[in-house]
């Protein structure tokens, strides 16, 4: 397994909402920053809205963040777009008549959960505020060099 770019794109989208906070923010404009299609953006916004991270009004081009930046963690975004799917997947069916095949799922699940929890704890420590701060720092570095 492997996490799709949905997670990255969702973070991108939310940061974009903050940094380009203006009246007219269409899915087309956001899509041009992510370099994807507006439909993908709208689908992402659907998930983020369901998770209570943004507010949108159909027809109006005015999506807004539903919470302060520092109260949106990367983990919340991860759950919003990747949901329940575990990072590590166990083989759903193995030979039950074998000491290994009959018990491996039970055993692995526990260790996999530990590993995933460790990663999630790290994601929980970072907020959108950190991301936006870093984006602006990186941008300033570039401008200083040009």
């Amino acid at each position: 397994m492997r996490v799709s770019t949905r997670f990255s794109d969702a973070i991108h989208l939310l940061a974009f909402l903050k940094i380009y906070d203006q009246q007219h923010l269409t899915s087309d404009l956001i899509a041009s920053s992510i370099e994807t299609s507006p439909v993908v953006v709208r689908r992402l916004m659907g998930k983020l809205r369901q998770a209570g991270l943004i507010k949108t009004v159909p027809g109006s081009a005015q999506p807004t963040l539903a919470k302060p930046l520092d109260q949106i963690s990367l983990l919340a975004i991860f759950y919003a777009v990747e949901g329940d799917k575990p990072l590590f997947s166990v083989d759903p069916k193995t030979n039950p008549d074998c000491i290994v095949g009959g018990n491996i799922q039970t055993v692995l699940r526990q260790y996999y959960q530990d590993a995933q929890t460790a990663a999630e704890a790290r994601l929980a420590k970072t907020s959108l505020q950190d991301i936006v701060d870093n984006l602006l720092v990186e941008q300033a570095k570039k401008e200083a060099l040009s």
Copy 2:
């Protein structure tokens, strides 16, 4: 992102080598425990051999672990079969003329690396010895109930 069942299957395979340590261990027999095809097993064994975790001799049905159980960590197995691929992937190309699009990869890579490292640290703490021990405990539980 998401880790394929290769990782689980590789752990399964190695545990099987230990628990059914006998003269005649064909890829067919191992495959019947994982419930996959013998070719998949041989491919997995190829990667595990390259990583120095097992020893095999073509033609002989006698794969063996190359190290003591407690010196094979889940992380070593993970690297052997999943290698370089990161858990979280960043969108390879976003709009460079945008504050977000032009800097998001740099920023995310850092936080993604932290999260992955946290997960890997957890995998490093668990050895095949732990897995085999747990498999036998689970098996004993089952037998106690029957």
